[in-house]
Amino acid sequence: MAGPVRIIHYLNQFFGGVGGEEKANAPVEAREGPVGPGRALQLALGDQGTVVATVIGGDNYVVEEQSTAVEALEDAITRFKPDVLVAGPAFDAGRYGLACALMCQAAQAKGVPSVAAMHPENTGVLTLRKELVVVSTGTELAEMQSILARVVPLAVKLGQGQELGPALEEGYLPRGFRRQVIRENTGAERAIDMVEARMAGRPFESEVFRRDFDLVQAPPPVPDLSRATLALISSGGLVPKGNPDRLESGRTTELAHKYSIAGLKEFTVEDWECIHTGFHAGIVNARDTNYVLPLRSMRELEKRGDIGEIYPLFYSTAGNGMAVRAARSIGEGIARELKEAKVDGVVLVAT
């Protein structure tokens, strides 16, 4: 598509000139043309694009009155017909960053691509990383020009309906998607070049970055074990001998199987077995099945009164090569059931 791209620029109350912290509840409004840093954005765009409108929202308002804020943005989209939304830069302001993220998400839902700019650890990035195209910034206002210079090529490309290339090449933060690529050199050559660079202290680019799993808040401790119900979970492929329900030995996808241990003092090698093929289950199956789930010790502690009671069912799955999404849904399923059954704590043995 030829011609300058039409841009709506999203700013918070401060950068939009509405006011400071006291105006954080300002509702979302739309104005024609660029405002504040939008003028610098227009300059950086030259004839590649036009900032046709600026949408300004209070940081608190957008996050707390999300649906109304989104409606206001949608109205602006209908009115100004943008090709792309540019949000921020929000630097390290967390509420502003989150508001930018939400506005971008809303625009994309309406078919308008978007690009935001903020610090890589801004809440906006941490919350919606997978959905957003984000230009990384520092924390200083003085960077404004250089940030906008990096935003412009992405805004133009997106506004023209073009597909973006890899994150490092195009200058946006990796969203977490890994795609196949054929590199210029073989893996061996790249490895030798990389080790030479590392030994010489020269800069290099690793091909995989650290990525955190979702972090969950730690639940509080069990207040009184002697009155608590504890449930047992095994990811070691522990099943009744013969595997009657055909638990998969690897790459399991379904909810874990449940087996009764009511009145059972311990697992025996005659009646139970481990079918997990990711480790050599011979020892467990010959010597002591309780290695994989210590029912014998749990029962002793229950008898002594250290534990209130052991939940009469245990959950069994095999963790061998399980996809993360399967693990997540299996875990959520078990948690739901145990919560309903008013279980106080869980002992999960993994192999």
């Binding site: 969203r175 990711g278 090569g321």
Partner: protein
Amino acid sequence: MHLEMGTFPVKNIVFGSRTRWDDGVLELDADELLGPILAEPSIETAMLEIGKPGESTRIINYHDILEPRIKVESPAMTYPGRCGRPADTVGSGRTHRLGGMTIMTCVDDPNVWAARGWSVDQKDDVPRPGRGKPWSWQRFVDMSGSGALLPYASTNNLCLVLRPNAGLDAGNSSNILQSAILSLSDKLAETTLGLTPPEVEVFDLTEKDPSLPGVVLSCHLASQEARVGPRSAHGTAIYGVTRLSAPWVLGPTEMMDGAVTAGAAHVTWPFTNNPIMLGLARRHGKTLNFLGCIIGRTNWGAEEEMRLAGNRAAEAARLMGASGAIVTNDVRGRRFVDSISAIQAYERVGIKTVFVTEEEDNEDGNAPPFLYHPAEMVGVVSTGTGRMDPFPSVDRVIGGVDGVDPAWYLEQPYIQGRYGAAHVRDHYGIGQQSCIDY
């Protein structure tokens, strides 16, 4: 160490009245070559077939893939320690190799390849042929088309297709299969003795330039000891030893002479033709010193054992004077943790690491590329996650003694990097495929 490697390129393999190499053509007397193999009582049937680059051919059921190499005027033997071969130290003197070809043992065992047609093994997978043996559906080589991804698509492959007797255990079976491939390899490589190699490359790693940094190649190879015992012939071996041991220190030229061999889960070819080993050897004395190879065994059960193994590898590297280490792995899952223990140990003693590895299925951005990514894993080269597109249908399939399941001729579905699913298996960076962040 000083090794003179003479290459006899093989541009074509043909069947004829005698076995000889002449000006790039390897002629084979099939009956003469198969005789000793058929004499082995545990082998029911054996035949030779040839898969050439560019053909619409798929080779299935491969057990081992190796390149014929032979020592010249030496009491030592290539592929030492295997199947009763002497375990004398290799890696010096002269070696001849038949370049541009491989021997593949293709094992057609109806008890193992019991499933016929298409079936689904794992609930969230698509139907695939050859379901009898776990992961069997990943072990094939396409000689042309978009699925010709492996280095063997560019080599002339002499396929020894055989059917062993039923009921052999893993160790015995491996021994028999390896004996067959090695005796064939020796016979073919022997045709070069007394001839002048058209290409010669000298690997001289004896002198070290003190102004250059030292690098080790640190490979981690799984051991099946827990399952088959310490003295089994089954699995990857160093000088014929498969057991789960402390790290081995090898000179690079020892690897070129076949000190590391495989079969079953892995194949031997990537060790003698290891591109990292060759790349480092070729830069020796120019930009670095290639100090040696540290081979770690994996499948340790306890974390302390993995840490100890990692520490020993790092201590060996430190004593050798290394400033850098290129680390590789061969099976993912828990063995990945072994490699990581080594990386952490190297970094702790100041040795800079680069980890060459495949990565897991990204699950559309929902799963991280690795099981575990510690802070020390700063330099990573990714060899990708397999193939996302299907493999086109083919006209010919090699690997069956009396024909193969028709399912193998058809288009095969994608094979990508969900843990364990591995067709490309590029552990040493031979290809350019990789993954990148979007």
